[in-house]
Point group: C3
Chain length 347, copies 3
Amino acid sequence: MTKGPTGPKGGAGPFFEDFDLGQRIRCPTPRRLGEGEAAAYIALTGDRTPRYSGAAGLVHPLVVFHTVMGQTVRPVSLNARANLGYAGMRWGGPVRLGSVLSTEVEVLGLKENSNRATGIVWVRTTGRDQDGREVLSYVRWVMVRKRGEAPTRWLEAPSVPSVPGPVKARELCLGGLDPLPDLQATGGRHAFEDYAPGERVFHLDGQTVNASDHMAFTRLFQNSARLHFDAVLTHGDPLVYGGYPISLGYAQAFNGFENRLGLAAVNGGAHANPVHAGDTLYSFSEVVEADPLGDAPVGALRVHLYVLKGVEPSTVPALAVRAADGKGYREEVVLDLDLWELVAKRG
Amino acid sequence: MTKGPTGPKGGAGPFFEDFDLGQRIRCPTPRRLGEGEAAAYIALTGDRTPRYSGAAGLVHPLVVFHTVMGQTVRPVSLNARANLGYAGMRWGGPVRLGSVLSTEVEVLGLKENSNRATGIVWVRTTGRDQDGREVLSYVRWVMVRKRGEAPTRWLEAPSVPSVPGPVKARELCLGGLDPLPDLQATGGRHAFEDYAPGERVFHLDGQTVNASDHMAFTRLFQNSARLHFDAVLTHGDPLVYGGYPISLGYAQAFNGFENRLGLAAVNGGAHANPVHAGDTLYSFSEVVEADPLGDAPVGALRVHLYVLKGVEPSTVPALAVRAADGKGYREEVVLDLDLWELVAKRG
Amino acid sequence: MTKGPTGPKGGAGPFFEDFDLGQRIRCPTPRRLGEGEAAAYIALTGDRTPRYSGAAGLVHPLVVFHTVMGQTVRPVSLNARANLGYAGMRWGGPVRLGSVLSTEVEVLGLKENSNRATGIVWVRTTGRDQDGREVLSYVRWVMVRKRGEAPTRWLEAPSVPSVPGPVKARELCLGGLDPLPDLQATGGRHAFEDYAPGERVFHLDGQTVNASDHMAFTRLFQNSARLHFDAVLTHGDPLVYGGYPISLGYAQAFNGFENRLGLAAVNGGAHANPVHAGDTLYSFSEVVEADPLGDAPVGALRVHLYVLKGVEPSTVPALAVRAADGKGYREEVVLDLDLWELVAKRG
C-alpha cells in the first residue's frame, strides 16, 4: 500500500490547475534569521557590506530576499518551468537579527499557454516579520506545469494583471538608516555625489562557482527546487539557483560601492543565461539614475548590475550586454538586475 | 626524539584491549549548540522542519544526535572497523539553543572475534546538557580493531549484553511539545490521523552528495574518524559519515511529514551500503505502527526511513528494499532507520 | 562612459607607490564575530579545542587572526606577489563572542626591488575590539606590485625596519585563562609537564582540501584576494589561502595537545609550498622550548607546527623538513609555524 486514508503524501508540488485568482497562500516555514545565517551568508558569498558585517545587528537585504523567495518555492514554483520576471520589489526597512519571517502569496493573474502544457501565474509575494511588519514585497510571474491536458478557463479567458513599473525613488523606504557608513572606515572614498548616470563601475573580482557552495546557499534558504540539487535528474549538471549569482554579483559590487546601505528596491531582473558549477562569475554595474532624495543623508542610485560568466568585463572595451542581433543578451550574461541602491552622501 | 617523558602523544585511538566491562568514559569535548550550528545544519541538509527553523529556539534532534555521536568517536570508535548497530535510542525532550552537551559512555559488553584481529564493544551512550539533564541515550555496538595478536579474556569468555528491543510508544518523551505545529502554516495538510500502517510516503527530492558537504557536516560535529576526510587513505574516495544520509533522508522526509515534531526514538538502524561523494540520495518512508498516545495532542508513528542511492523510489513500482535472495538489502539501499516520530493531531 | 566625475571606481587595490612611511590606514570592514562564525569555523576546520567549543563563549584565536588578516587584504595585500613573513605576533587575551573587531596598519618600512616591478612593504597590524582593546598585533612584510615603471625614492634609499625577534615567554598574555581545561574532560592525559624540547608529536589525521572548503573559509573572513577564488585567472587551480593550512594543522594538533588553551604568539611562519584543492594535509609538531612561567597554572610551549601535503609524517622515520640540499623546505612541507602555546599544568 502506498497511499494513506487521505491519499498519497509527499506532494509533487502545485500545478497550474491548483491556482485560482485572488487565492492567498501562507507559505511554510516561518524562519528565524540570526547570527548563524549571517555568517553562513558571508562564507558562501564573501559579502563585505559594512552595514551587515559589524555592530549594527541587521539581516542583509538579500538574506531577507532569499528567505522569502525560498518560502514560496513549495507553494508556488516547485514545478516552475521558468522564472519569467519580478517587478516592484521593495524592502520595508532594516530587519534585526533574530527576526522570524513568514511569507504570503496572493495570486494576481493566470493565463494558460496555448500548448496546454503550462500556464503563467502572477503572484504578489509579501514577507513579514514576527510583528506583522512588511519586510519585502514584490510581484513575480512564473511558468508552471499543468497536471493534465484538459484546458482550464484561463486558456480562453486569461486574466493578465498589470505589472508594476519601476519603483520611484520617492517610494524607497528611508527608515532606520542610522548609523550611516563611516566614509573613513569602509575603505571606499566614493560618496553618492561621486556617481553619475552612464558610468560603469567594474567590480574586478571573479568567483568560480563550486557545486557545494551553490547547493549549500540554496539549502540555507530552504529552497527545495529539485533541479538545483539532483545530478541524476539534471544529467550531471544541476542548475545553479538564480539567486546565487544575484548574491555573488552584489558581494563583488562592494568594490566600487563601499558606502552603500543595502538594496532598497529591484525594478526587474533577467536571469539571462543559466549558471552551472565550474562557471566563473564577474560583474559590473551601470549607473542609470541618481536621485539626491532631497535633504536625506543618503541618495538613491538606480543601477543595472550585470553578472557575466567566463568574461572579466573590465577587459572588454565597450562591452555590449545585448546579443549581436539585438535580441536578448549575449551568452556570457547571466544576470541583469535593475535595482535601487542607497549610498551615503559626503555630508 | 619523537617521544615525550610520558611516551608518545597524538593518540591512535582506543583498541579493543583498552576497554573493560563496566568502564565509564567521559567523552571530549563539551559542545555548545547555538544559532551557528542551527544555520550550518540547515545549509548542509536543507532541513525544513518548522519546529527547528522558526521562533521556538530549539536544537534539532539530529543535531543532538550527531553531536553526541561525534563526542564518542575519539574514546570509542576511532578504530572501528564497522558500526554494527544502535538500539533503544531515545531523546529526552527539547534542547534549547545555547545548551552545552557532554557525553558519557559505559561499556556494557565485550566479545573478541575468532579472527583475533577485532572485537565487538557494546556501549551505552548518554548525552546530557549543562544541568545534567539527559538529552539522548542509546546502546551502540561497534567492531573495533585489536592492538595486538595476543588473545584477551573476551575471546574465551565473551560478555554479550542483551540489547534493548524496540522502544514502546508509551516510553517516548512527550514533554515540552508546545507550541504544536500550526497545520495551516507548515504547508502540509496531513495530521497524525491521516497516516496508516503499511503506507509508503515518497519524499521525491534527490540530493547529490558533494565532497565538501559531507566533510563539513562531519567536521561540524567534531567527528574526526579519518576515513571520512582523507582521500589518500581511502584511495581517492572518502567514505561518507553514516549520519549524513540519516540527516539528508530526514530532511527530505519533510515532504510528507510536514507536521512532525522531530524524532522521539530510534529502534535500530542499518547502514546497508556505503555512500561516497557523487552519489545522489533519495528516500521514502514506510509507516509500521500508529499509536494515538491516548489523549495526547500528538500521536506516534513508527516509521522505517529508507534512503537509496541512484534510484528515485517513487519511480519503481512495489520497490523491494531487500536483495533478491532475501539476504540483506539491495545494493541501492544505504539506510534503513526504524524510528518513532511524533506528529500533531488534527485537533 | 566608464568613469564617474571623480574617476574610475572599483579599486584595483594599492600598489607599491601608494604606501608611505609612517602611514596609518584604517582597514575596512569592522566585523562582528559571533556564534555563526564559531560554528562555521568548526565546520570548515574540524577544530576541537575545548576552550572554543563549549560554554566559555570565546572566539578562537585563529578566528581573530584570520579576521584581522582579512581586513588588511584590501588596503595592503590585494596586489601582493608574495607573503614574505610575519613576526612578533601576540594575542591580547580572550575575545568574547559578539565582539566587533577593527584593524589598523602602520607602514614601518619600504624597499623597492631592483627589478622596479615590485617593492617590499613592512606593516605593523593591530586588531582591536569595540572598546579599543588590542586583541592581536604583528609585523608582516609582503612583496607588492608597482603601478608603473618609474622608480620611487625607496629604490635608492630603502627604509628597512628591524623585525621583532621571537616573542619571549614572559611577554605572553596570561589574562583571562579561567576556567582551565578539565584534564579529565578533554580526552587528553598530557599536561604541560609531559612535554619536552625535541619531542615530536604526530597528529595523525589527514584532511583532503576541497575547493568549496578553502574558498568558503577565505570568504568567511572577507578576504577578497582574487587568486583564491578565480579558476580562470589561475588557469584552473586557485591557490589556497595560506591561513587555511594554518587552521587545518592547528585543528589536527588537538590530537596530542588536548589541554592547550589556544595560541598565545607566533614568532614566525613560512608558507613553504603552495596548497591547491585536492591536496591532503597532515601535520606534526616539534617542541622547541618549555617554559613553566613560574607559578602560573599553565606553562608555555614553543612549538614548530609543520603541515605537509601528501605525506603522513608519522610513517616517515626521522622525517627531515628541510630539502636535501639544505636550502629551504622539502616540497611536501606547506607550512612551518613557529608558535607559543599555553598548556594546562597537572596541578
